[in-house]
């Protein structure tokens, strides 16, 4: 079942219908119920296994071989997107490729996006650590905060050196989507421009 070219899911227990892009029951007994969305990452296998050497892999026979790094050959088609009940914002991959670190915010949450050009992976992390908000720059693929000069791993969000060593930047829920598909469901989405960078 499709809704505006987007997949519809059904739960066996109540037969409610759910929009997978909205994570919400659109009809049936659970109408209006929202599923909690868990932070996830879309990346390539090499990048993931390097970040998490203890990872497991869920696997069944492939149904296609289409989805490899070359899937992103036209970066302008893709965005990393965030949403809540009131608003949404996207950061286009082609812009991120040009500016691989963006200190920004969404719905009052200060965040940093780090874009890995090799794998076209967008890491989205909160900039809030305890009670302070940090601002980051990127140096040789390592994040450095302006406030303490501590060094952070952009992929895991962990501080690896400096005053804040051991602290963790919280990964935020963000979705990789085709730009057009996202715009169809979120027509008033804010599109990040370079001038908005703080």
């Amino acid at each position: 079942m499709l809704w505006d070219n987007s997949v519809v899911m059904m739960d066996l227990e109540t037969k409610s219908l759910w929009s997978h892009i909205l994570g919400e029951a659109m009809s049936g007994p659970l109408l209006g119920t929202k599923l909690k969305v868990i932070p996830s990452l879309m990346t390539d296998w090499k990048t993931w296994r390097t970040i998490h050497p203890n990872t497991t892999l869920a696997f069944l026979d492939r149904t296609t071989r289409e989805y490899t790094r070359s899937f992103y050959r036209d970066l302008s088609q893709f965005v990393i997107a965030m949403r809540n009940a009131r608003e949404s914002k996207v950061w286009a991959f082609d812009r991120l490729s040009k500016y691989p670190i963006v200190n920004d915010q969404f719905a009052r949450e200060p965040l940093v996006i780090v874009f890995d050009q090799k794998s076209s992976t967008a890491f989205v992390l909160s900039r809030r650590v305890d009670d302070r908000v940090l601002t980051f720059k990127l140096s040789n693929e390592i994040l450095i905060d302006n406030q303490t000069g501590s060094q952070w791993n952009a992929a895991t969000g962990k501080a690896i050196q400096g005053q804040l060593k051991g602290k963790q930047l919280r990964p935020l829920v963000a979705t990789v989507s085709f730009r057009q598909a996202w715009m169809r469901f979120h027509p008033n989405t804010i599109v990040w421009q370079r001038s908005q960078e703080h």
């Binding site: 037969k15 009809s27 492939r62």
Partner: protein, 141 residues
């Protein structure tokens, strides 16, 4: 709660098959990666509860937006849910999947897991019902 795709190839003629394939290509143009969990749904409502339809009022995003209705297009009966699939540790996994292949990946607690997009891809395969870090999750994209 288990999810399955509201769609099926069922029985088809060759001509119909092509038609369905074309449809799904459009459907898959939504390259969304999400991992969902089911906090607060006990899923115990009876099957015969009256079905309601929601009218999504997107105008709350902005006064300029038009109202969108939930009008899904049903093609066929649903597929069976996917609840069982092998889980591989990294040594085995690396033999199965190429470095350049895309994955949807998640960490819950201290348990990382990757779902290859090339596996999650056909209509029968849109959702994996899984448990990770003792939380019930659905992986979809």
């Amino acid at each position: 709660m288990l999810f399955r795709l509201q769609n099926s190839y069922c029985s088809w003629s060759a001509k119909r098959f092509r038609c369905i394939r074309a449809t799904f290509r459009i459907g898959l143009s939504v390259a969304t990666t999400v991992v969902l969990t089911f906090a607060g749904c006990d899923g115990s409502q009876p099957d015969d509860m009256p079905s309601k339809t929601i009218q999504r009022n997107y105008s709350k995003y902005s006064p300029r937006t038009k109202v969108r209705e939930f009008r899904p297009w049903r093609l066929f009966p649903p597929f069976d849910p996917i609840t069982e699939f092998p889980i591989h540790v990294i040594e085995e996994a690396t033999k199965l999947i190429d470095d350049a292949e895309l994955v949807l990946a998640v960490v819950i607690g201290d348990e990382p897991r990757a779902y290859p997009i090339n596996v999650l891809n056909t209509p029968q395969r849109e959702f994996f019902n899984d448990t990770l870090g003792s939380r019930p999750i659905a992986a979809t994209w």
